[in-house]
């Protein structure tokens, strides 16, 4: 497939090269349309968010109030901290102007005069790369006052995070942007009603915004024909773990997971069998190796298989993998990253990790297997934000699909007693 997010064009990160290859023409085109038309185009394209929830982007934009005296804001989410996810970094490095252009078009469509791109603090080097691109775009009049001679003005600012997975959650991100600890907010009110600084706000992922210029340049019909109709477009898939060629691959949605692993990522070292696959970042439900046959990288296909697209960060595990160690490590992560506001998440994630450490050490009891599920079930849905769910799903799915692994590791006398 032709690549649209990370095309194979040398020096595309430089503004001259970007312009030579048609860069900023979508912005020009958008400025000639009325803002509602732009939103409508995005809505009809069926673009769905690449930040984890696959929410329809155009629809989200329509939630923004139209006649409102308050300023409105756009937050572009580049926190990228879900384990297994490393795609937005590629955009900062190789195609930053397309992200900027998409951000500007989004601002125009929603009548926004300040956009903040929130990037995880660990990406200091990549923040500098993007800042250079932003500076160059200001210098050429693409950002700032009266953009390209129109009466539309907007600013783009980069905001550096400081090491907190939770700040990728949209309301936590806004708290962090305001200069607070990243504690998620209770919803409603939703960001479009009351977001950052109590003003209407839209939050979209970096890759989502990078898709927008494609839709404006080529039209929604063109875009909606790429990949799967209900979840179309190019998508960046990060493949890591036990594969020969780990990396980020751009494909059309609907690519077979087996093609991604065996063709794009070069298969499994030593031709080993696949024991398990986490398809979309550590919070998505784990699949058994034999379950991925015929499953595709799109929302419906992965849902039918009992998992989800998430951030499309796939982690492949070969037949020799110690899955108890894997789930224990994942649980440690969510325990470490829980902000501590909600009791079920703060306490529950700690209990999950403690019990899983027992299994790792061969000290788990057979009844602990159901206890894990019970704790996970009591976290899921009972917290302010979805970090609780993200901690519960991997445990629930691991027990459901690999119960035998837990049984094998349980304390032997405990097995006999039960």
């Amino acid at each position: 497939m032709e690549r649209y997010i990370l095309p194979d064009i040398p020096n595309l990160h430089k503004i001259d090269a970007y312009e030579q290859h048609g860069g900023y023409s979508a912005l020009k085109k958008a400025l000639g349309m009325n803002p509602a038309e732009v939103t409508d185009e995005v809505k009809k394209s069926n673009l769905r968010g690449r930040g984890g929830a696959c929410f329809p982007t155009g629809l989200k934009w329509t939630f923004m109030p139209k006649d409102n005296a308050k300023p409105k804001y756009l937050c572009v989410n580049g926190d990228e901290s879900e384990p297994g996810t490393f795609k937005d970094r590629q955009i900062f490095e190789f195609n930053p102007h397309q992200l900027i252009e998409g951000t500007l078009i989004g601002c125009y469509a929603m009548g926004i005069t300040s956009a903040y791109i929130y990037i995880r603090g660990e990406y200091g080097k990549w923040i500098k790369m993007l800042q250079k691109a932003v500076d160059d775009a200001y210098a050429k009049g693409y950002i700032g006052q009266n953009i390209l001679g129109s009466n539309f003005s907007t600013n783009i600012y980069l905001h550096k995070g400081a090491g907190a997975y939770i700040c990728g959650e949209e309301s936590s991100l806004m708290e962090s942007l305001e200069g607070n600890r990243g504690y998620p907010r209770v919803k409603p009110p939703f960001p479009a009603q009351r977001g950052v600084w109590n003003c209407p706000t839209t939050i979209n992922n970096v890759e989502t915004m990078t898709n927008v210029p494609l839709i404006i340049n080529n039209g929604w019909e063109w875009y909606s024909k790429i990949g799967v109709a209900k979840h179309p477009g190019p998508i960046l898939v990060g493949i890591s773990g036990h594969v020969n060629k780990p990396g980020v691959y751009e494909v059309a949605t609907g690519e077979l997971l087996t093609d991604l692993i065996y063709n794009y990522a070069g298969g499994v070292p030593g031709n080993k069998k696949i024991k398990a696959v986490i398809p979309g970042g550590s919070s998505t439900m784990i699949l058994r190796g034999e379950q991925i046959e015929g499953v595709r990288m799109d929302a419906d296909s992965l849902k039918a298989a009992g998992s989800s697209v998430g951030t499309a960060g796939m982690i492949v595990m070969d037949e020799d993998t110690d899955l108890i160690r894997v789930i224990s490590r994942i649980s440690k992560f969510y325990y470490h990253e829980s902000c501590g506001q909600c009791t079920p998440c703060r306490e529950g994630t700690g209990w999950l990790w403690k019990i899983l450490k027992r299994f790792e050490a061969g000290e788990g009891r057979i009844q602990d297997i159901d206890l894990l599920v019970d704790i996970a079930n009591n976290i899921e849905g009972n917290t302010i934000c979805a970090l609780g769910d993200a901690a519960a799903w991997p445990v629930q799915s691991m027990v459901k699909r690999f119960r035998d692994e837990f049984e094998k590791r349980a304390k032997k006398d405990a097995v006999a007693a039960a």
Partner: protein
């Protein structure tokens, strides 16, 4: 205290946001870059400067793992041990560091040269296992490459 130059930067940063408080995270970054860490005195100073209670600043500094309230070693080695790195041998990287630098995760060496920490996913899973030193990422590591890197650094 922030230097003259950094004070100017702080003033510029405030203009980016409708409320001054929002400049806190970026200004904390500047303070940390200047001093290497954020001392209690610095927090009090910034509190006066931004008209924020000390408790708020302390709360923010302690919430975010990348702000440090104590000095670190000259090289801060951050070793990712999350799943993708674990699957590709991050424990061997940690062992190599312990062997070469004589420090375990969470420790700083007696000569102040090394601080080692285990960290969560750094967004470099495709280049696992990895370590970060400051803003630099070192990916696709092996114990041999790690040893080579550490030796090079220790000669500087």
């Amino acid at each position: 205290m922030l230097t003259e130059e950094n004070l100017k930067k702080a003033e510029e940063l405030k203009k980016r946001y409708p409320e001054t408080k929002a400049a806190l995270l970026p200004i904390l970054w500047i303070a940390q870059e200047q001093e290497g860490y954020i001392s209690e005195d610095m927090m009090k100073y910034l509190g006066t400067m931004l008209n924020l209670p000390f408790a708020h600043i302390l709360g923010v500094v302690s919430f975010y793992t990348m702000y440090h309230d104590k000095p670190l070693g000259r090289y801060h080695l951050e070793v990712c041990t999350n799943v993708s790195c674990m699957l590709r041998g991050s424990d061997k990287i940690l062992q190599t560091i312990e062997h070469v630098c004589g420090v375990k995760p969470g420790q700083t060496s007696a000569d102040g040269k090394w601080t080692v920490n285990e960290v969560e996913c750094m967004g470099a899973c495709g280049g696992a296992p990895m370590i970060a030193i400051g803003e630099e990422y070192y990916e696709n590591l092996t114990p041999e490459k790690t040893e080579e890197l550490l030796k090079k650094l220790s000669q500087r």
